[in-house]
């Protein structure tokens, strides 16, 4: 059982590797799935369905942001809730104390979170595998405890409340549709960014650094810069999601916004959907978020928490039996249907599902 762990194949790298140039086939499937979700929500058009849709797309965008570090760069972070919280708190504090509209405030959060992400990666530059994971977890906790105790700035455990007065400038709306539009735009932007990263030289730098650091530096890539940039972009885009979260729920407190559970959720959505792909986090969110919301709705009468038990079990099964996630399973099915379209490039076969 141990024989399979040849040094080259086991590392901090992602569970699946369907990165590198994308073919058209998968994007069409994705678009159809996404469009049908929106159509369903529009047709059903009750508050609950639209609420689930908004949450789903917000989480999809956030998972895509996490995936830039966790999937593409192999920097598995369990401290992303800190960046999420920084985004949410910065824009909210600017709005409440200085009247800065969140439209601009979110860029302040982006900047701070980006710097924090870069700093974290520089500090932990030498760490690999579980050491890196645990360091990010600790960093996230430091931010959470700071937010919990810095009462004058964050309101401490009581949290901050954004007054529910509808105003376009303050990004507070009465109807759900503006939120839905913003969140979908966020997700699409993150998706576009992910696809762009996959296709640029920088993306190849990331994959090379993730898969073989020594090899990458031998051909002239600076692994440290590549990693730092990936984490900074990931943190900055996560912070935007944090602002959107704050504006939609209009309430923030450290225990819910900066908890490790949030970071785990980012990671698990990506893992279930397929790490290191642009479509994975979207599929993961499309399955996990509505599922846990619906289970919560169905089971809440009987007992609270049961939906998360089922959720945990689903996560275990998917991870163990579909380690390349849903998007990996779909692309395999697609390549079986049309052998040419979904075939991974030869250079990538080494790392593909044969091993994982």
């Amino acid at each position: 059982m141990v024989e399979g762990r040849s040094p080259a194949s086991v590392g901090i790298q992602a569970i699946s590797f369907s990165a590198a140039p994308r073919r058209g086939a998968l994007s069409i499937i994705e678009m159809v799935v996404l469009a049908s979700c929106i159509v369903v929500a529009v047709v059903v058009s009750n508050r609950y369905a639209v609420d689930i849709m908004i949450r789903t797309f917000l989480w999809a965008g956030l998972a895509l942001a996490w995936n830039i570090a966790g999937g593409y760069a192999g920097l598995i972070s369990f401290g992303h809730a800190a960046f999420f919280g920084i985004g949410a708190y910065t824009s909210t504090i600017l709005l409440l104390n200085y009247g800065v509209p969140p439209w601009f405030g979110m860029f302040a959060g982006t900047l701070i979170a980006g710097c924090a992400g870069a700093l974290l990666t520089m500090v932990c530059a030498r760490l690999r595998g579980p050491f890196f994971i645990l360091s990010t977890l600790a960093a996230g906790e430091v931010v959470r405890i700071a937010a919990l105790n810095w009462r004058t700035l964050t309101g401490g455990p009581e949290g901050l409340e954004i007054p529910p007065v509808p105003s376009v400038v303050d990004m507070v709306f009465k109807s759900q549709w503006p939120y839905a539009t913003i969140v979908i735009a966020y997700m699409l932007a993150m998706f576009a960014l992910s696809v762009w990263i996959e296709q640029t030289r920088y993306g190849y730098y990331l994959f090379a650094t993730r898969d073989d650091e020594d090899g990458a530096s031998a051909i002239g890539i600076n692994p440290r810069h590549t990693r730092t940039a990936a984490m900074a972009v990931s943190a900055a885009t996560t912070a935007i999601g944090g602002t959107l979260f704050a504006q939609y729920f209009l309430y923030l407190d450290p225990t819910h916004v900066i908890s490790p559970d949030i970071s785990f959720q980012f990671a698990l959505i990506c893992a279930v959907g397929g790490l290191g792909t642009a479509s994975g986090p979207v599929f993961g969110a499309l399955i996990i978020v509505p599922l846990s919301e619906l289970l919560r709705g169905l089971l809440s009468q009987s007992t609270s928490g049961l939906h998360l038990v089922i959720y945990g079990i689903i996560v275990i099964i998917v991870i163990l039996y579909f380690p390349s996630g849903i998007s990996g399973a779909i692309s395999r099915a697609a390549s079986r249907l049309s052998p040419r379209a979904g075939l991974p490039p030869v250079s990538n076969l080494k790392n593909s599902d044969a091993e994982s």
Binding site: V2, F131, E141, A146, I319
Partner: protein, 295 residues
């Protein structure tokens, strides 16, 4: 002056208790090269089982240990066979995420079964502290510390003098070489995982009288355990003991001199500093953190 001594002593004792909970984690990490993210939930399970035994039969948690420890051993066996073994040949993130899923499931199962209420056991001797000269000590803390020292000593001897112990140390150092020397590594994995879980069972029993148990109790303590394990060097038992005592002292001093709320922040900062300046921990394997050990 006596305040400082009092704080140091209770810090050291607290640290001993942290050490027991961390030794299981560090053993599993050293041998299997995986981080069990459900470790805290194992502790939660142990504390609930101990609580159930104590509150239904009226015996002390220290007696209940005789039941809880084998039970956790069996649970560890089960988890290893169902979740860890299918994932261990795959990239290590599979195990990370699978144990994380297990942690979510267990936490919420506890919430469903036991509700979010705090459960605790009645204190020994009516909760009166023991007095040593100017020092006051809680009986449970002292007992827990003594048990943790006994456990660490017993384990150290076990590691030095038995075949399994030597095999475990060999596997920690170099898995491939150990296998070539005829050590049944897969069996050792099973044994270590179950044994590490049994240690969590002991930890749960000595922690129950000091803290109440609730569904998310594991998260609090598992974070401490990670800090302790990293501080001591992953895979090093003596390191875990030392790390536990460091964290105990940091917590008790910062809790008194700064503010209890910031106590946690201090040990996470200590953790990050160790990670930056001495990433292999105090007594860890050289270069371990740089290669993530399992590469």
């Amino acid at each position: 002056m006596s305040t400082i001594v009092q704080l140091l002593v209770s810090g050291i004792m607290l640290g001993g208790i942290y050490a027991v909970m961390s030794i299981g984690l560090t053993l599993i990490f050293g041998v299997l090269k995986i981080v069990n993210f459900a470790h805290g939930e194992f502790l939660m399970l142990a504390m609930y089982v101990a609580w159930a035994i104590v509150s239904s039969t009226g015996i002390t948690t220290y007696t209940a240990m005789a039941v809880v420890t084998p039970l956790l051993f069996g649970f560890g066996l089960l988890v290893y066979l169902l979740i860890v073994r299918p994932g261990i040949e795959k990239p290590h993130l599979v195990v990370v995420f699978a144990t994380m899923g297990l942690s979510i499931a267990m936490q919420n199962l506890a919430l469903v079964a036991m509700t979010a209420d705090l459960r605790d056991v009645p204190p020994l001797f009516g909760g009166a502290p023991i007095k040593f000269g100017p020092l006051y000590l809680r009986v449970e803390l002292l007992l827990g510390f003594l048990i943790s020292i006994a456990i660490t000593l017993a384990l150290t001897l076990f590691m030095k003098h038995t075949y399994i112990g030597k095999a475990i140390r060999a596997t920690v150092q170099d898995r491939d070489a150990a296998m070539l020397m005829g050590i049944n590594v897969p069996r050792l994995f099973l044994l270590t995982f179950a044994g590490g879980s049994a240690l969590v069972g002991i930890a749960g029993c000595i922690m129950l009288p000091l803290y109440s148990t609730f569904p998310t109790v594991g998260l609090n303590f598992v974070l401490i355990a990670y800090v302790v394990v990293v501080l001591g060097g992953m895979g090093s038992m003596e390191g875990a003991f030392l790390g536990g005592i460091c964290i105990g002292i940091v917590q008790s001093l910062s809790g008194y001199y700064v503010a209890p709320a910031y106590g946690q922040m201090f040990y996470f900062l200590v953790f990050l500093l160790v990670m930056v300046f001495r990433p292999n921990g105090l007594l860890g394997q050289r270069g371990a953190a740089m290669v993530g050990i399992n590469e």
